[in-house]
């Protein structure tokens, strides 16, 4: 189990790194957003003189890792399924769990890369100072907290085709990120959006990340973690259903 898992993770990560579209979508987008809103606007009048570089590190970090997980799973699985590649792997003695965990491992490693890049930017350009404990807590919580989104992506990957999957991922990803206060602080969003957003896993990951760097207005890490775990279970159930439905369609 361990050797195949290690290799699966390693080669999944290589696949992600070698795919320019993926790196651009998942690394450059959060970075560009963070540079614009967190760094360029730091201390400007638009933010009422507040330095948003630190809190936005948490929320854009969450935005970044969510994108990695949703895209690597949603699009990756949809494409491999459509190609018949997944079927070939399933015909080997590879355990299905190895396939999923390999992708989780690769996705989490890439998540770590995204968060560390954001932290470096904040530190170099916007005067962000994290203690070592904060850094570890931020990176660790965001990497682990990407798991529910891996599960969501897995469900999308089994439900959607290779052409519709990227669109579907964006339709989930962008509005949910906005409603969850990952782009602008939750407090300044309209009440109606807040009412929906507070139940989304994106919001809970954002709040958890803010908590680790002392920026959550109302820290509830246990509640956040519970909600994320609950979403993981729901998304896994959806993924299993979508897989069964897809399996029934095998025709040839």
């Amino acid at each position: 189990m361990w050797k195949p898992l290690a290799l699966e993770t390693r080669y999944e990560l290589l696949k992600l790194v070698r795919l320019p579209v993926f790196a651009i979508m998942t690394l450059l987008f959060p970075l560009a957003f963070y540079l614009m809103f967190g760094v360029a606007l730091a201390g400007s009048r638009a933010t009422g003189g507040r330095n948003l570089a630190l809190p936005l590190l948490g929320t854009y970090g969450a935005f970044g890792v969510i994108g990695v997980a949703l895209f690597s799973f949603g699009v990756g699985v949809a494409v491999e399924r459509a190609q018949g590649w997944l079927l070939l792997k399933r015909a080997t003695p590879m355990r299905p769990l190895v396939y999923v965990l390999g992708k989780v491992g690769a996705s989490m490693a890439f998540c770590g890369l995204v968060v560390v890049t954001l932290v470096l930017c904040g530190t170099m350009f916007a005067g962000v100072r994290l203690t070592p404990q904060q850094l570890v807590a931020l990176v660790g919580s965001l990497m682990l907290g990407s798991i529910p989104f891996c599960a969501l992506g897995l469900a999308v990957g089994f439900a959607a085709g290779p052409n519709s999957a990227p669109a579907l991922v964006n339709v989930i990803h962008l509005p949910a990120a906005f409603a969850s206060g990952l782009w602008l602080p939750m407090e300044i969003l309209p009440n109606g959006i807040q009412a929906v957003g507070r139940w989304l896993p994106q919001a809970h990951l954002g709040q958890l990340a803010l908590t680790t760097i002392g920026q959550a207005p109302n820290p509830q890490p246990l509640w956040n973690a519970t909600m994320l775990a609950a979403w993981t279970v729901v998304a896994m159930a959806a993924a299993v259903l979508a897989f069964k439905r897809d399996e029934g369609k095998l025709y040839g």
Binding site: P4, L7, Y11, R18, E80, W85, L88, A91, P93
Partner: protein
């Protein structure tokens, strides 16, 4: 004589439906150690479904499937099988060597990566990414993935579709290497000539049933036929009713009959139509004869005008005919 050991693969009373389509219909099949079996049949005959049932990728609606006495999805069974399925594309960004390295880790006693690359004939492009390979190179790389686990059975689903003659030759020499090591083979193909050249047993499927099963020589003898061409005023339906006529094809005013008993059919034709002209009797090509077998009811006749047509590419690619 076949090896009397227990079967590697055994299907008993397998039926499988996709919605209203019956893919496999009360099918029995077994494969013993050392056999090289070719599954033949037109598209939709059930070849790929049969392979997927054997690989444990489909749970059949009815019946029992066993590999070495185990359920096909059991990892202990899968460790002894190498598979090539019809894969549209492979993750492009990994090299052949990387893919082989990963697949080898799934098996208990894999061949070393370098030996696999050599045996599959992919060593010279092992460090190229899958996305940069030609069609023939890609099939050989997929073959490398199939043999890396030291399989006792190699399952090849349409392995040579779309390959040119040269690439096919290279591919089959790799397969012969595995046969020489005692590996059993189950392959599906459209190409009768290929099946004939490599297999020691042909199994012909039609509409989810086995309609012929035996040594290539015996099957060829069974399906050998002659072609009777003429210009006649007789209706195709009455021609089809003549005893011994397997199929009727009309092209312009010429009629072509495929038959096992040309003399008898000619006598009957001349008796029924005194004005019959342009009579010609020739040997039918094997693929033409095969087509009537897979296209029509066993023992009965496909009476559509396109009953016995459609052999292309100068070889013997058999198309699905009037099902």
């Amino acid at each position: 004589m076949r090896n009397p050991t227990t079967p590697i693969a055994e299907l008993t009373g397998i039926s499988h439906r996709f919605g209203a389509t019956v893919a496999l219909d009360q099918l029995d099949f077994s494969l013993r150690a050392g056999e090289v079996v070719a599954l033949l049949g037109p598209n939709g005959a059930g070849k790929t479904t049969l392979v997927r049932v054997l690989m444990g990728l489909i749970r059949p609606s009815e019946g029992r499937a066993r590999m070495w006495g185990l359920p096909p999805a059991d990892p202990a069974a899968r460790r002894r099988v190498g598979v090539m399925l019809q894969v549209a594309r492979v993750p492009d960004t990994l090299t052949v060597r990387e893919h082989v390295h990963l697949f080898s880790s799934y098996y208990g006693t894999p061949v070393s990566v370098d030996d696999t690359l050599t045996a599959a004939g992919v060593a010279e492009f092992a460090n190229r990414r899958f996305g940069q390979l030609s069609g023939g190179q890609r099939q050989r790389a997929l073959f490398a993935l199939a043999i890396c686990g030291r399989p006792d059975l190699l399952v090849l689903d349409e392995p040579t579709v779309g390959l040119d003659v040269e690439a096919r030759g290279a591919f089959w020499s790799g397969v012969r290497g595995m046969i020489a090591r005692g590996c059993s083979i189950l392959l599906t193909t459209h190409y009768l000539e290929e099946a004939d050249a490599i297999a020691d047993r042909l199994v012909i499927l039609r509409q989810g049933k086995v309609i012929r099963d035996g040594a290539p020589q015996a099957i060829k003898r069974q399906i050998a036929a002659r072609k009777v061409t003429c210009t006649t005023s007789l209706e195709p339906h009455s021609l089809g009713a003549i005893y011994g006529v397997r199929s009727v094809a009309v092209a312009g005013d010429a009629v072509t009959l495929l038959t096992d008993d040309a003399e008898r059919v000619v006598r009957e034709l001349l008796a029924r139509d005194p004005g019959l002209r342009n009579l010609e009797v020739t040997g039918a090509r094997l693929d033409e004869a095969f087509l009537t077998l897979t296209g029509g009811q066993p023992g009965a006749l496909p009476l559509s005008p396109r009953g016995a047509t459609s052999s292309t590419e100068g070889g013997s690619r058999v198309e699905a005919v009037g099902a």
